[in-house]
């Protein structure tokens, strides 16, 4: 009897339980990797010469130079911070009516479709591509960046707010409606208290994202600390670039901890 039992144990596969699918997938991945790495053209000589530069960059990161370009860094940082705040405020202010319009349970059908398509356009285009177009239209500087971030905020917050409104407790809305409340009163007394905590949390989160994005869109000329960073790297001033990166990391960390603390405080 004992002989018929296997004496060793193999761990059963966890996700792909069909053996043929598993082998097929592995072969497929192997073929893809061979093809992908085969078409990869790498200039190893250039990489080797770059290592020395990389070392200088790491040294610059470890010994950041905040002083010699401090005026430029400060100007970039102020531009980034003001851009972040104004664009978040405008974006949130615009995304509230848009989010209400894109909620199936509050808006009539035509309004719903219009609002949802605005959100879809805003979400599918990347910030940097929007920034390129807005810089071409509005000229270089933080104003184009401000518009870019505000537009991106509308898509992000509008969608999440609309989804949130669609998921509210319908019984509370029903109760308010039963008192004879108008549509405006319904929004104010039934919907707003239910979505407000999350809206505040999302706005703070978006503030954080907008700062991070403001560091990027400067590369295409939309102002902020990204422009300063781009200049520093173009000039091969890696110690200044290291200082700017450390400032970005620092501000993002402060924003992240600050917003998580604020959210805890508000709830």
């Amino acid at each position: 009897m004992e002989g018929s039992y296997p004496s060793t144990w193999r761990r059963p596969p966890q996700i792909l339980t069909d053996r043929r699918v598993r082998i097929g997938l592995q072969v497929g991945i192997a073929i893809y990797l061979v093809l992908a790495i085969g078409t990869l053209e790498v200039d190893w000589a250039r990489v080797a010469t770059g290592m020395e530069r990389g070392q200088r960059f790491v040294m610059g990161f470890l010994q950041p130079d905040f002083v010699s370009r401090w005026d430029d860094i400060l100007r970039g940082l102020i531009e980034s911070l003001t851009m972040t705040l104004t664009s978040t405020v405008l974006g949130v202010a615009l995304s509230v009516p848009l989010g209400i319009g894109a909620a199936r349970n509050l808006a009539p059908r035509p309004v719903y479709y219009v609002c949802r398509s605005i959100i879809a356009v805003s979400r599918s285009l990347q910030e940097i591509i929007i920034a390129i177009f807005l810089v071409a239209m509005f000229g270089f500087g933080p104003f184009a960046g401000f518009l870019t971030l505000a537009f991106a905020t509308i898509g992000f917050l509008g969608k999440l707010l609309a989804d949130d409104i669609e998921e509210i407790d319908a019984r509370q809305a029903e109760a308010v409606r039963a008192t004879g409340a108008s549509w405006g009163q319904l929004v104010n007394y039934a919907v707003q208290p239910q979505v407000m905590p999350r809206l505040i949390g999302l706005s703070l989160y978006r503030l954080d994202i907008n700062f991070r994005e403001s560091a990027v869109i400067g590369i295409v000329g939309a102002g902020g600390i990204g422009a300063t960073l781009n200049t520093a790297i173009d000039r091969y001033e890696y110690d200044s670039a290291g200082a700017i990166l450390l400032i970005i990391i620092g501000v993002v960390m402060i924003a992240e901890y600050g917003s998580s603390y604020l959210r805890k405080f508000l709830q």
Partner: protein, 270 residues
């Protein structure tokens, strides 16, 4: 019964004190907004801003009709873009796994030294956008696909590491204890107690990141890191707006397909 008389007869949502605080908050926010607005627009040339609708109409008229004959030329860069995203994701995930295990409270080999280091790596990688990573790497290792792949990999460490270490910290303690009770070594506990619990989350996170990376790798070419962004940059520099339209449509299509794939895979995993 008469005690109730001193209460207001009209119901209000908030007490007077919270109302006052709320008004003060809004006033402060508006003041801050106005101040920031003035600082930000100090250097704005308003003539350009008022000119914008005309510029928009001009660019719009140049963008249509899209030059569809440009499409075959884009297939090579598109393949490069997909490779940047995929190979970058693989590299990032490979680097993120040890970082995640070092950062998780229950698996970290040394909570005092290694854990803060791992957490710093995660924060640093997360706060720097892949475009900035690419900018740095193009300066260091030269323009090309490799810079893009490394940039995507470095950016992915933070994202995958953060989500993975949270998944590790949320593992069921009892299953791990059961494995430990059999006399398993540390490595065996990891392999039989923790890995099976986080495996679905791991694949889900990786595919999700791959989807984001496809999106991000389409623009890395703007700073010279290869892929379809390179064509975008070239078309814009030569003001070939009808080609820009084609590229943007192709990017949009790729992003939608990758989003669909990632949603399907994650649905199958959960």
């Amino acid at each position: 019964m008469s005690e109730i008389d001193h209460y207001s007869q009209v119901w209000t949502h908030r007490t007077p004190k919270t109302r006052l605080m709320l008004w003060a908050f809004w006033a402060a926010l508006v003041a801050l907004f106005v101040w920031c607005w003035q600082v930000m627009t100090a250097g704005t040339i308003w003539a350009f801003v008022w000119d914008a609708p005309r510029q928009a109409a001009d660019i719009g008229s140049r963008m249509f009709p899209p030059r569809l004959s440009y499409l075959p030329e884009l297939m090579g860069p598109l393949w490069d873009t997909i490779n940047i995203a995929t190979l970058g994701t693989i590299g990032g995930v490979i680097m993120a796994v040890p970082v995640a295990f070092a950062a998780a409270r229950n698996t970290s080999p040394s909570p005092a030294i290694l854990r803060p280091v791992a957490l710093f790596i995660i924060v640093a990688s997360r706060s720097i956008n892949s475009l900035i990573w690419a900018l740095l790497l193009v300066a260091i290792i030269g323009p090309g696909l490799l810079a893009g792949i490394v940039a995507i990999a470095l950016r992915s460490i933070g994202f995958v590491g953060k989500l993975l270490y949270e998944a590790i910290e949320e593992t069921d303690r009892r299953q791990i204890e059961a494995i430990e009770a059999t006399g398993a070594s540390g490595a065996q506990t990891l392999s039989y107690g923790i890995v099976p619990q986080i495996l679905p989350a791991f694949w889900g996170i990786s595919v999700f990141r791959w989807d984001i990376n496809i999106r991000e790798s389409t623009i890395l070419g703007l700073v010279g890191a290869g892929g379809i962004g390179l064509k975008l940059q070239a078309s814009m520099n030569t003001l070939a707006w009808s080609q820009v339209t084609v590229i943007l449509l192709l990017i949009l299509g790729t992003v939608i397909v990758s989003e669909w794939v990632s949603a399907k895979v994650r649905q199958a995993l959960i």
